[in-house]
Symmetry: C2
Subunit: 207 residues, 2 copies
DNA sequence: TGAAGATTATTAAATAATTCACAATTACGG
DNA sequence: CCGTAATTGTGAATTATTTAATAATCTTCA
């Protein structure tokens, strides 16, 4: 590990999702060519990606779906069982907490933080304790490495704080700009940018 | 256009977002090196990306922020003013319709479709007409190229239909698997996969 | 049990993306 | 209005990623 390319790393969740779907459907084995059709990635790319974690395909046979899933889990962090936090329990934050498809994600959201914890805790749909943002240092779970950021403003200050507290990765839903401290990783989830990207691509291809 | 690399195309929304932010703050000119620090992309990459659309930087001076913005708009689709549709007005769909940061996106959501249009239309927060999904063919806006998919199931059928109706790009919020028809482009927005990606990356770097 | 057929793993080749290095150009101060 | 300092734009070099080609291995069935 550590020498797996960025491009490959970004494909792993796609594979995992597909494999779990297949497993659920009762599929026991899969060929790289079948998976290729399923996820729209060339079979040779898939085989290379898989081989980076070891050799567990069988020539003339393919891959064992469940074995593959458990290897992904072991190698890539699912077994680490991340204790995650969410910051900002507004409309979006609540939607994420209530997301009904958390099966098999790489951990769980343990608690949340907000500037109005009393109000948020009253909402029937919020199923984790919500603390005041000032209690971050005090209440952050031991070994927490991942934070989900859903606040409308003031991101920079919180990001700096999180960095101090040992958080390594941020899933960023804010559109506000902030400087990422050295050593942290950020993944943006941004509907607007995604739409723009798509529009740009559509227009660049068809015009 | 058309020869701009995929990697570059994915960075354009990042630049645009940063430039608009800067413009709002009253910044009139910017150096590639400044922008580099702002968006965490090497300055030389930025210059190359920009130069693909023409030469509008000035040596010894930098780039004019507003000029840059208007060129992005012209070259990359903002002026196309996409008429977009949204399918599936559940919790997530509603959240997207109400998203309060639509400034400068590459078009607008014109209408939505659902299996319970009466119910959805009653919600005070839904600000576009909602039609029954069976009326898709009838009500889809002229020249619509982009659809936002927020349905929990039955994606494949709808995607096929959209393809027939000339839609070229899909912003996909569903976790359901579907086969993408030839010629269509899809962008997944998937919280779970994003978190996994982040966890994988964090673990692959630090372990 | 062995041969045929299928499919992976991997080496090598091709392609794509990034970064370097510096020439060309422009702003700006005197 | 000239010279200096700054900064872009871009060929060339490097690095990363994907794809092709094929050797190695496994399954399966007679």
């Amino acid at each position: 590990m550590g020498n797996i390319s960025k491009a490959t790393l970004q494909r792993y969740p796609i594979y995992l999702k597909a494999l779990r779907k297949l497993s659920k459907e009762g599929v026991k084995r899969v060929l790289s060519s079948e998976l290729s059709e399923y996820v729209n990635i060339k079979s040779t790319t898939i085989r290379r990606d898989f081989s980076l974690m070891g050799q567990f395909g069988k020539q003339g046979y393919g891959y064992d779906v469940d074995e593959l899933i458990s290897i992904f889990a072991k190698e890539l962090g699912e077994d680490y069982d991340e204790k995650m936090i969410l910051i900002g329990v507004g409309r979006l934050g609540t939607a994420i907490l209530n997301y009904n498809n958390w099966d098999y994600v790489a951990g769980e959201i343990v608690c949340a933080f907000d500037i109005q914890p009393e109000k948020r805790n009253k909402e029937p749909k919020v199923n984790v304790p919500v603390y005041h943002i000032d209690q971050l240092e005090e209440k952050i779970p031991e070994g927490c490495e991942i934070a989900i950021l859903c606040i409308p403003s003031g991101a920079q200050e919180i990001v700096n704080k999180l960095h101090e507290l040992g958080v390594k990765g941020i899933v960023n839903f804010t559109r506000e700009h902030f400087v990422l401290p050295e050593g942290m990783i950020k993944k943006d989830v941004d509907v607007v940018s995604t739409i723009q990207e798509l529009v740009f691509e559509v227009n660049s291809i068809h015009k």
